[in-house]
């Protein structure tokens, strides 16, 4: 298998890996807590897309029973990721709630400014 096939044949997976790295990069480099949460969402979203991509069946249709359909996509990863999305929503809302409390007690949501407040 040559390189082009390897890249093009896994375009969906490469896409999710790219998003995964972008999300992780945002989480690591941004000092603003809201941006960190956004990065975390990109990071998790990449995994959702990855799960959807592995459910794909060539020429398969949506997994709803229909008389014309012969091939269906695998519905199990869809269901799994529905659960994971719920988890991600809960994580995000908890993170935002924490940010509200941090803002109340520190008066800032920037890492460096919070560190300054803690220093004294």
């Amino acid at each position: 298998m040559n390189v082009i096939d390897f890249v093009m044949g896994h375009a969906l997976q490469w896409g999710s890996v790219a998003l995964l790295m972008i999300g992780l990069y945002i989480v690591m480099t941004r000092g603003n807590l809201i941006k960190k949460v956004a990065g975390l969402n990109v990071f998790q979203g990449a995994v959702f897309l990855f799960y959807i991509s592995i459910a794909h069946v060539r020429d398969g249709t949506a997994p709803i029973v229909h008389e014309d359909a012969v091939l269906y996509a695998n519905p199990l990863p869809h269901v799994l990721i529905l659960t994971a999305i719920v988890v991600a929503v809960a994580t995000t809302s908890l993170a935002l709630a924490l940010i509200v409390r941090i803002r109340e007690s520190y008066g800032s949501i920037e890492e460096d400014e919070m560190a300054k407040v803690d220093m004294g």
Partner: protein
């Protein structure tokens, strides 16, 4: 089909249903009594399950009558039965102390929900331990993690919210890594049941996705277990969380991470694949021992004792990781025994911190001056649990260290055995610093002023267990032996 057959489901269902009910109770006193009752029922169930597993072999429980490979199965063997006893036992011992414990250390507006969230964390951890379904494990992992973030954020210090936020970010990254690993493994095997997956993996184990799956899961569990250098969420979280929360998590949360690692390596990927082909020992041993050295050394320099205990946990988790990495029978026993034993001693030490904070408002070196005279029982607990942390004979710490060192020798790595002994010597330094200040400095004026019995009792019970189980090792080592044989990893 009697109630007895439903125990595996009840083990998780009781705290999970108890949590929202606890929120509905409303009155703080009543909510506390309810939570204590739930914790003790859960503990009783876990003991019944452990006995049953030791007598009659592993339990397979299927949800809703679905066949095991299609539905969600709970599989209980000696390994997770022991973890269930540890987690629910710690909850049962610590929960009674929360009535007075939360008055001092939990922010006012969160108090009425404290017990609800604590029960959720308990349910999540028990779920991780009990399930035989790999995706179900992820869901329970997130339930317990989300509850943990909330509990840490309840600390009275404003830095608690910051610590909780960092814990949330790193914990989510860890859990998401595990999720990616699960997805890759599912992609190649088409199953989510652990046993079924283990049967199908050898056919595809040479493929890149499976290798990547092991790597992702290894990193994810390393973050959750706070294996060096993925431990950075832990010191702040344990320092600023309410001490009773630190006591519970110090005893259980990282242990659940270590359990997940054991489960994935031995029951899903298989020891042969993980150790012989993928050589994860080459990752776990250096990182584990580096953590043991770094954690112990950094602990010596800490001013806040809760932070010192957190860094000591980094070292202890390092021992567990290294023990798993040695990949022999003694190493497996050492890992399992230390998961349990370290739970006991770290729980006891953090409870001592809760007692001291209840009286003095903080737990830094300064406030420990002359504490040996002022709070003799509390300090007595600290000394006993501290000796156990060092690994003095007749304490549980010694049992763990014994198996750890002998597994290093078995693996033919005697210099590493020396490293383990050396880090124990460093533990003497950081425990002695506190003893020195507490017993050999002039106490500030003030009469004997012991912590309230409800806070002190759990610490005393755990210290007693540290000694009892250190002398009579049948329970821990016996169970670990059976578990090691069943996991079949080591010859």
């Amino acid at each position: 089909m009697g109630l007895l057959q439903q125990l595996p489901a009840l083990q998780v269902a009781v705290p999970l249903i108890g949590a929202p009910l606890c929120a509905l109770v409303g009155r703080p006193r009543l909510a506390w009594m309810f939570a204590v009752a739930v914790a003790w029922i859960t503990f009783a169930i876990s003991i019944a399950l452990l006995e049953h597993v030791l007598d009659a072999g592993p339990i397979h429980y299927t949800m809703g009558g679905w066949p095991e490979i299609l539905g969600i199965a709970y599989v209980i063997d000696p390994l997770n039965a022991l973890v269930l006893v540890l987690v629910s036992g710690m909850a049962a011992i610590i929960m009674p102390a929360t009535r007075i414990g939360i008055d001092v250390e939990v922010v006012h507006r969160a108090r009425h929900l404290f017990h609800t969230v604590a029960l959720l964390a308990l349910a999540g951890m028990l779920g991780i331990a009990i399930t035989g379904d790999i995706f179900n494990l992820y869901v329970f992992l997130e339930i317990s993690s989300l509850a943990s973030y909330a509990l840490v954020a309840m600390g009275i210090d404003r830095r608690a919210t910051r610590a909780a936020f960092h814990y949330l970010v790193q914990g989510t990254i860890g859990a998401t890594f595990i999720l990616v690993g699960i997805g890759l493994a599912y992609m190649m095997t088409g199953t989510l049941n652990m046993a079924d997956m283990a049967a199908r993996l050898p056919g595809v184990s040479h493929t890149a996705p499976i290798q990547a799956a092991l790597a992702f899961i290894l990193i994810g569990t390393a973050i959750k277990a706070a294996i060096f250098p993925a431990h950075s969420w832990m010191p702040n979280a344990y320092t600023y969380a309410p001490s009773l929360v630190s006591a519970f998590f110090g005893a259980t949360a990282t242990k659940i991470g270590a359990y997940m690692l054991l489960r994935f390596v031995y029951s899903v990927f298989g020891a042969d694949y993980a150790f012989d082909e993928m050589k994860i020992g080459w990752v776990l041993i250096p990182l584990g021992l580096a953590g043991a050295v770094a954690g112990s050394v950094v602990a010596v320099w800490q001013h806040d004792l809760r932070r010192m205990l957190a860094y000591s946990s980094v070292a202890q988790v390092g021992y567990i990781a290294a023990a798993i990495g040695f990949a022999n029978r003694d190493g497996l026993i050492a890992a399992i025994v230390h998961v349990f034993n370290h739970g006991l001693m770290k729980g006891a030490l953090f409870l001592v911190m809760a007692c001291v904070i209840h009286r003095l408002g903080k737990a830094d070196m300064e406030s420990f001056r002359g504490l040996g005279r002022r709070m003799p029982l509390t300090m007595g607990c600290f000394v006993v649990a501290g000796l156990s942390m060092i690994g003095v004979p007749a304490t549980v710490g010694f049992v763990s260290k014994w198996y750890l060192v002998s597994s290093a020798l078995d693996a033919g790595l005697w210099p590493l055995a020396l490293v383990i002994v050396a880090t124990s010597l460093i533990a003497i330094i950081y425990i002695w610093r506190v003893v020195d200040v507490a017993y050999f400095t002039k106490p500030p004026p003030g009469a004997r002023d012991e912590a309230p019995a409800m806070l002190l009792m759990p610490a005393v019970v755990l210290c007693a267990l540290c000694i009892v189980l250190g002398v009579s090792t049948d329970l821990t080592v016996g169970v670990a032996n059976t578990a090691a044989r069943l996991l079949g990893g080591a010859p």
